[in-house]
Amino acid sequence: MTPLDNLSSLQHYIPDAALASFAVLIVIVDLFARGRSKVVVGVLSIAALAVAGALTLWMPHTGERLFYGMARQDGLAQTFKLVIVGCAAVTLLVSLRTQEVAERLRGEFFALMLFATYGMFLMVSASNLLIAYLGVELASISSYILAGFLANQSRSSEAAFKYVIYGSVASGVMLFGVSLLYGMAGTTDIALMGERLASAHPLALTIAVVFLFAGVGYKIASVPFHMWSPDVYEGSPLPVTAFLSVASKAAGFGLTLRIFRDGLGAEELLASVDWPLFLALLSAVTMTVGNLAAMGQKNVKRLLAYSSIAHGGYLLMGIAALGSSDSSAPTAAILFYLAVYLFMNLGAFFVVMHLAEPSRLGSEEMPAYRGLIRRSPALAIVMSVFLFSLIGLPPFAGFWGKLYLFKSVVDASLVEGGVNGHNFVWLVLLAMANSAISLYYYFAVVKAMLLDRGEEETPVKAHPAFALVLLILFLPTLLLGFFTNVDDFRVDEAPEASASIMAEE
């Protein structure tokens, strides 16, 4: 498909453009809104995400190459955008009435959230590494501010500080990797780069790919770029933590998928840089480190932060499987897993957030959760279901997500030639062992809530509006596996690499 020029691209870019214009509009409206009229800003932000989500859902995404090949509107981008916009919308709904963010600062909070969402949109639709870099930076810079939004709390500013240092270093290394790839290929277009890199020196290519991975690896919190995530997740305001752990991770995986599937998936390239093995090893280490570190945690928020590292490890397994001859099955499995992860992980974080409010438990520590079943049966049961789903116990959605993901990796390993000559069945066995480890720490929370007897017996009431949001997250966690399956998440094939991609060159 020939790339479209700027003017004819716009009609295909309406969802993203709407989101960006709304974000700017909100900054302006916030300037003039005072006191009670701040509510307008919140409503406008929700409307922005609803409009962007609806347009993304209904616009045909047929793989057009927009803005002279800078971005692609294809099924992959569409699904990732829906996950991101869904996460942002639910987070915004919840933060409408959070006490963590001061009333007078909410407008800025919402605007930054929309800018971060737009940055993530750029990441998942990028077909040029320059746009990918700009997307990463737009999402990151907005998230730095969001993480440090409670400026008078030293925990929050410390989280922002660690985030900004790790993030800037990672994106700096990524940019240097992009410059090396540009030197070898003469272009920053992802698909075109894949074609031209076949003749590059294998060692130089490997170094460049490792540098490039530093940038996306930090976004998906893969070992060894994961160190920021427990501290940032613990110190940030809880809506931000939930947003980062799902949307930011999804965007990171979207970009990783594009780079490795569209750019580096060619057979000649796989011969010179064996990235499936590299990613499989990282995946093994990431899930193990995440799960082992989560075991000793007493703070539930921090426990969920480590568990989200482990889930990143499982997903990375699917990215490693992209090196096989059929990349569409692992892609669909990754998308399905992320869709499930959106509901169960957001749900778990929001229950923690709701319970941490002073009028309820006032704490995120495990001992405070003891005997919750006597104080609020509904919250305790809902939280248990989210945790069971995160473990991957049937029949909850998390089980189906894991099943399809593991199956796609096994299928890819068992076909003729395997994944670039490797058999990743060992990785799936390791992931299963890891799921068993995760049973231990998730169950510690469930045990505290359901079986232990706490000192306090006063009932804990959930806010009605919050209960509604929780229900929106709870039902898919319970039922998603029965109403959809991985085949609904099959998106179009990787673009056939062709020399006519960039007409102007």
Partner: protein
């Protein structure tokens, strides 16, 4: 100096700048100095872009540099603001003293 020699020298300089930046981030403990080292890393990448662009005879690498400069400015603006908030609560910008969140 022949163009080939200039090309090699510029690339070497870029690699050295990048290495100095990475080493600085790892060794120095003052947040402001760390930020200066991150700037070095970004500018090393910029130099590599310009050098490759001239060597290959295509202009898009030089266009990338403008974007990177704008992004670097935004990143530093936010970074310095965050350093100021940390300094307000703690009266120090030493990264070793940030131990409130457990490792």
């Amino acid at each position: 100096m022949t163009p080939e020699l200039t090309y090699r020298l510029c690339l070497t300089l870029s690699a050295v700048l990048f290495a100095v930046g990475v080493a600085g981030v790892l060794i120095r403990r003052n947040a402001i100095v760390i930020f200066m080292c991150i700037e070095l890393m970004l500018n090393a990448a910029n130099l590599a872009f310009v050098t490759f662009s001239r060597h290959l005879g295509v202009l898009n690498g030089q266009a990338v540099v403008f974007f990177v400069m704008a992004v670097a400015a935004a990143e530093v603006a936010v970074g310095l603001a965050i350093i100021v908030t940390v300094f307000r609560t703690r009266a120090s910008v030493n990264v070793d003293e940030l131990k409130l969140l457990r490792r």
